[in-house]
Symmetry: C2
Subunit: 249 residues, 2 copies
C-alpha cells in the first residue's frame, strides 16, 4: 500500500508548565486528536515565556515536521509573547490585524477595548486566522505553524477550526491487547521476536501500576491493516501459548 | 542576595505519549517536585522510542542544563531502548551490571530470570544506580543524567531516591493572587507596568475556563523574598484599585 506520512510537533509555551504550577492537559489531547486525523506527532517541547527560546524551538521544529502546533502565550498580558516570537522566527512584521479588530471591537463597551486587549489583535503578516469559539480573540496559522491558546477549552475550538485546512496522511491503525495477567518479563522475549518479524508494525508494551499491582497492555500499530492484523494475530497466539504454559505449571 | 541557579530538563521517552495513547503524568509531577527543591526546569521534550532521536535530544539537553531527568523505556521488552541509547549518547559501553543482577536475581524462581528480565540489568558503564522501591529493577544516574521509569509510581520512588545526590539552588518563591473577578484585559496594562518595575520577579497571568466562565490568577515568582513581597504588594494594590473603579463604575 502507499503510505502518506504527515508529521507534527507540539510546542507548549509557558513558565507555568515548567514550574509545575499548571499541569498541561493539551499535549495528550492534541496527540490523540492528530493521530486520529492521520497526522503523526513526532516530538513535543515545552519552553518558557522567553522570546529566544520560543524562536529557537519553533525554527528547529517547523523545518523538520509538516506542522507545528503551539499552545499558550496569546492573551492580553505582558507575558503573552508568542505572536511576536513567531513573527521573529519567520522574519516578518507584526501589527494589529484589521480582521481581528473587526471581530473583537464589537464585543467591548466604549473604552474597554484597551491597549492590553488590542495586543490580542497583533498578528504576524501573512497569517490566516484560526477561530476561537469561546472568547473571540483568534489564533492564527502562518506557514506550517498553528498558534493556539493555552486554555484547553479555547485551544480545542481552535484545533477544530483549523482541521479542514490540514493535509492528513494515512491513518495509524492501532490495536490494544491486554496481556491477560502475564508479566512483561515473561513475554518480553517472544514479543521481541514478533516485533522483529513484522517490520511494518510497531509494537509497544505498556505497564500500569494500580492498587499495588502491575497490569500490561500490548499495543500494535501500523498504517497497513493487513500488517496490523498479522502482528495482532501473532500476539494473541503468543499470549494463549504463554498462558497455557502457565496453567500447565 | 546571592542566587544559586541549578537547572534541569525533562526528557520523556515513549511512542505512547506521542500517539496520545498514554496521557503523561510525569512532567507536571517532576516539574513541581524539582521547583520545590530549588531546581529550575527550563525545558521538556517528548521523543519517540527511536535511538537516534533519544541520543540527539539527550545530548542537546545534557550540555545545556545542570541535570536531565528522563522517563520511560527501561523495562524488559524490545521497545525499551533507553539504557542503550544513553550509553550511545555518552559514548560508553553497556553490559549486565553485577549490582543489578544481585538485586534482581533473588526475586525470581529458578528459570524465571530470563533474557528479557536481564535486559533491565543492562546499565551503561560508569553509572550509579537509582533505587526502585516498587519493582526492584533500578534506574540509574550517569554524569548529569538521571534515568527513570515511565510508570509514575515507580518514577516517583526513583526521584525520591536520587534527590539526596542532587545539588540544589536558591528556591523559586511563588505567590498566587486571585484576580478577584477582574478580566485579564482589564489589568493587562497596569500588570505589565508592575512587571517592568520589578525586574527581579517574573509575573504571569493564567486564565482558567470552568463552567463557561473565565477566572484568572496572577502568579509572582522570585528567588528573593523582598523582591517577591514588593511585587505582590503592587499586584494587590492594583487589584484593589481596579475593583474600586469597577464598583464606582
Amino acid at each position: 500500500m502507499t503510505v502518506e506520512t504527515v508529521t507534527a510537533a507540539v510546542l507548549v509555551i509557558g513558565d507555568e508548565i515548567l514550574s509545575g504550577r499548571t499541569k498541561d492537559k493539551n499535549i495528550g489531547y492534541i496527540a490523540e486528536y492528530l493521530t486520529q486525523l492521520g497526522i503523526d506527532v513526532r516530538e513535543v517541547r515545552v519552553v518558557p515565556d522567553v522570546e529566544e527560546e520560543i524562536v529557537t524551538a519553533l525554527n528547529a521544529l517547523r523545518h523538520r515536521y509538516t506542522y507545528v502546533f503551539t499552545t499558550g502565550g496569546i492573551g492580553p498580558t505582558h507575558d503573552d509573547i508568542t505572536a511576536d516570537s513567531v513573527a521573529k522566527a519567520f522574519g516578518v512584521d507584526i501589527s494589529e490585524d484589521p480582521r481581528v479588530i473587526a471581530l473583537m471591537a464589537p464585543r467591548y463597551k466604549p473604552g474597554e477595548f484597551n491597549a492590553a486587549r488590542r495586543r490580542m489583535a497583533r498578528i504576524p503578516h501573512g497569517a490566516d486566522l484560526v477561530a476561537n469559539k469561546v472568547s473571540v480573540a483568534p489564533g492564527f496559522m502562518i506557514g506550517n505553524v498553528i498558534i493556539m491558546a493555552g486554555v484547553p477549552a479555547v485551544m480545542q475550538t481552535m484545533l477544530d477550526d483549523v482541521t479542514p485546512r490540514l493535509k492528513t496522511g494515512t491513518k495509524m491503525l492501532m490495536e490494544t491487547i491486554d496481556a491477560a495477567g502475564l508479566a512483561e518479563g515473561t513475554y518480553g522475549g517472544p514479543l521481541g521476536d514478533i516485533a522483529a518479524a513484522h517490520t511494518g508494525a510497531t509494537i509497544g508494551s505498556y505497564p500500569s501500576f494500580l492498587d499495588g499491582k502491575f497490569s500490561n497492555q500490548i499495543v500494535v500499530r501500523s498504517k497497513d491493516a493487513q500488517v496490523l492484523a498479522a502482528a495482532v494475530a501473532d500476539v494473541h497466539a503468543m499470549i494463549a501459548r504463554l498462558n497455557a504454559a502457565r496453567a500447565a505449571g
